[in-house]
């Protein structure tokens, strides 16, 4: 049984950087990664903006030393790059020294290739290699292979936009119970025509830069990204004399049970998730120094989440901001991306600004943090909410 869940490594690739250092630099400097979509041919190109990663699949292929006959989806490429950085950062040389698992999250999986070759599969043998790469578990299997994880616990979570937060939660539970000594947790999602058109039909895509918690917010920008954390037990940290970046202190998942895609007006699910996480962490609302909000900039999310935050924190809402204005909404990866940002916030005692905010929402008087702020931080809460009423909260801390 491990009491503390130590984070000993992080890796990330997003529209604002190819690694942890680049992401942090962009966060500090207010550099947004939001542009017109370039790599996907879509009729909606002038009606949407996205957080797209610059590297091409061919470049990833070279970076990972893969043969051209590989059947990696972009989700698998992104995941492999970020997971490798995390493992390297944790100073792991032999991954199988300890019982090491991998929990990854994705919603898109291999859909980028499926939508490209959907009819082509029926006649063209050369593209058929991607058929096996469609299912969501495929990218996870490939990431495990890239990391050298064999004969171990490897699984995939898909609960829409809370997926990676849930991967962290399962990872923490597996270490606490002694099932694993070490686990790499996170998520990966690439952009696809499927999600662009899906969110378009729901009419929640902004045609300009997304503006979380702003009265005149017009919707979200989709993004692509992958991020992973290395979690290790007390015993591994001790015997390897590991530097601990932060701890997973608490976690909670709840279901809003209100609507397949929309959040309830009062944020019931979100409220329960935050309360559960506080309880697991054995903390009170006053102990939270910063909330990295889900804050997708849709009308529905920001209202529901804001109300839930007020329900949990009352008069004393801590500093909060959404980083979606930097990266776009990276769906299943979002909880992983924002976990990395939360740990960086703790390590550096900074709170990132909620970019693009202009007008106070009229339903409540809480305002996100608008400027970069330096302040000693002990605990950071990160929210991730998804379709199917899925609500997740993870709390990160400096102390175990």
């Amino acid at each position: 049984m491990s009491k503390g869940i130590a984070i000993t490594g992080m890796g990330i690739i997003s529209a604002i950087g190819n690694n942890v250092a680049e992401n942090y630099h962009a966060l500090l400097n207010g550099n947004k990664g939001i542009t017109r979509v370039a790599k996907i041919k879509t009729n909606h190109v002038n009606e949407i903006m996205v957080g797209e990663i610059a590297s091409t699949n061919n470049e990833f292929e070279q970076q990972l030393n893969l043969n051209s006959d590989n059947n990696y989806s972009r989700t698998a490429f992104l995941g492999a790059v970020a997971a490798k950085e995390a493992v390297k950062h944790a100073g792991i040389t032999n991954i199988n020294t300890y019982k090491t698992g991998l929990i990854s999250a994705t919603s898109v999986g291999g859909m980028d290739m499926t939508e490209r070759y959907f009819y082509d599969y029926l006649t063209n043998k050369t593209t058929q290699k991607y058929i096996e790469g469609h299912h969501a578990g495929d990218s996870t299997q490939k990431i495990a292979e890239q990391l050298g994880i064999e004969k171990s616990l490897v699984t995939t979570i898909s609960t829409a936009c809370s997926s990676a937060a849930n991967a962290i939660m399962l990872g923490a539970r597996l270490i606490k119970s002694g099932e694993l000594d070490r686990v790499i947790v996170g998520g990966s999602d690439c952009l696809s025509k499927f999600t662009i058109n899906g969110f378009k039909t729901l009419m929640i895509l902004s045609d300009t830069y997304n503006t979380p918690f702003d009265e005149n917010r017009k919707g979200l920008n989709l993004g692509e990204a992958a991020a992973f954390l290395v979690l290790e037990s007390d015993a591994v940290v001790k015997s390897e004399n590991k530097t601990v970046l932060a701890y997973v202190k608490g976690y909670g998942n709840a279901n809003d049970a209100y609507h397949q895609t929309a959040s309830s007006d009062n944020g019931d699910g979100a409220t329960i998730a935050m309360e559960k996480a506080l309880k697991v962490a054995n903390l009170t609302p006053n102990d939270i120094d910063y909330i990295n909000a889900h804050g997708t900039a849709t009308g529905n999310n920001d209202l529901s989440e804001g109300r839930a935050i007020i329900r949990v924190f009352g008069e004393n809402v801590p500093d909060f901001s959404s980083t979606k204005a930097y990266t776009g909404h990276t769906l299943a990866a979002a909880g992983g991306i924002e976990a990395v940002y939360s740990v960086l916030a703790l390590q550096n005692n900074v709170i990132y600004p909620n970019l693009n905010f202009e007008t106070q929402m009229k339903e409540f008087d809480i305002t996100p943090q608008l400027e970069l702020k330096e302040k000693p931080l002990k605990t950071v809460m990160s929210n991730s909410f998804g379709f199917g009423g899925n609500c997740s909260t993870v709390i990160f801390s400096k102390e175990p």
């Binding site: 539970r173 039909t201 199917g388």
Partner: protein, 354 residues
């Protein structure tokens, strides 16, 4: 640490398994390479208008979970954990083809929403108004076993009392067509009774939903006690037997303690040899059972194997149709299950009579 029990089952499969009062009494034989479920009367469980809107996977999942709740005598559960390899794949096919066929115009959100992998878990929560923990695992042939592991950990630690878990997957036309092209589906129609002798590549594809209420409170009506579950992303063929033995040893058990070995053979000549060592060497003297000739192969087919094991332990009977060898026991106390798909995502599960 608390013990974990299977307190109820609910199954929709290519057999008439939705009625919990019977146990494979009249088995349906097939001669095909793709087999669909035998539908219960969904209207007995969900209003017809709602049923019409639901994807097949949602309908199967919601109804199988309602059967499981009834069987457990519960109105609600504390958590819902769903496993699905492909989710509501028909809606995914529908949305992708609509994007291509209509050049990204005239699309409606329904099939996009139902394509989200956690749509079944979300719908069950909506139906039950269950605000508890709700996870969905999507890891190929270990999707269901992931739900089992997650629920087991939470119940052992007494974090929850009753957790609904299940595996659900539906067949989709395009998915079937392209899996025929890459020989994951057998080229020829195969008689159910000849599945393991087909001598050809690929499997007979199927679909289904198998749900269970797991609990850390034993009841007179409980089916079985869950001893352990282990998942492996990879496992060399040569190490399957030793891994099974190590798993038994971890649970203070030996080969002779296993009354029944339930195997996931699907008749694929390329991959069924993962079972050979267990069948003809290690567990040669143990009674053996198989099931994929009854339900077909799908990512969560092993949840049907789990259903079968639960029924055997509770009823203390084994239908002849699932017997794989000639060894016969008179009572059934301990069952070991082993499954893999195409040489990946292996699982071992141990159940005991309770």
């Amino acid at each position: 640490m608390k013990q974990v029990y299977i307190n109820s089952v609910g199954s929709i499969s290519a057999q008439k398994t939705f009625d919990n009062d019977s146990f494979l009494e009249d088995v349906v034989g097939y001669e095909d390479n793709v087999i669909s479920v035998i539908d219960p009367n969904y209207k007995d469980y969900i209003p017809p208008a709602a049923a019409r809107r639901m994807a097949k996977g949602i309908k199967m999942g919601v109804v199988a979970s309602k059967i499981a709740l009834q069987d457990a005598g519960l109105e609600n559960v504390d958590a819902i954990i769903t496993g699905t390899g492909m989710g509501c794949v028909r809606d995914s096919e529908k949305f992708v083809s609509a994007i291509i066929d209509n050049d990204e115009q005239y699309l409606t959100p329904t099939s996009f929403i139902q394509s989200t992998h956690n749509t079944v878990g979300g719908q069950i929560a909506l139906e039950l108004q269950c605000k508890g923990y709700n996870f969905t695992y999507v890891h190929a042939s270990n999707s269901f076993e992931s739900t089992l592991l997650d629920a087991k950990l939470q119940l052992e630690n007494d974090e929850e009392k009753n957790i609904l878990i299940g595996g659900v997957d539906e067949l989709g036309d395009h998915t079937v067509a392209i899996h025929k092209l890459i020989n994951h589906i057998k080229p020829e129609a195969v008689k159910s009774s000849n599945l393991l002798d087909s001598g050809t590549e690929g499997a007979v594809f199927g679909e289904g939903a198998n749900f269970f209420v797991l609990s850390n409170e034993k009841k007179a009506s409980s089916y079985a006690n869950i001893i352990g579950v282990k998942l492996y992303n990879t496992l060399p063929k040569a190490e399957v037997s030793q891994t099974a033995l190590d798993f038994l040893a971890e649970n203070n058990l030996d080969v002779k303690d296993i009354d029944i070995l339930i195997l996931g053979n699907n008749g694929d000549i390329k991959f069924d040899d993962f079972y050979t060592d267990l069948q003809s060497k290690t567990f040669h003297n143990n009674q053996q059972v198989y099931y994929k000739h009854l339900c077909g192969e799908f990512n969560t087919a092993s949840s049907f194997g789990f259903w079968l094991a639960s029924k055997i332990l509770k009823t203390q009977t084994i239908p002849d149709v699932v017997k794989l060898n000639k060894v016969e026991n008179s009572s059934y106390k301990t069952i070991l299950l082993y499954n893999q798909y195409r040489g990946e995502n292996h699982s071992f599960t141990l159940l005991k009579q309770c």
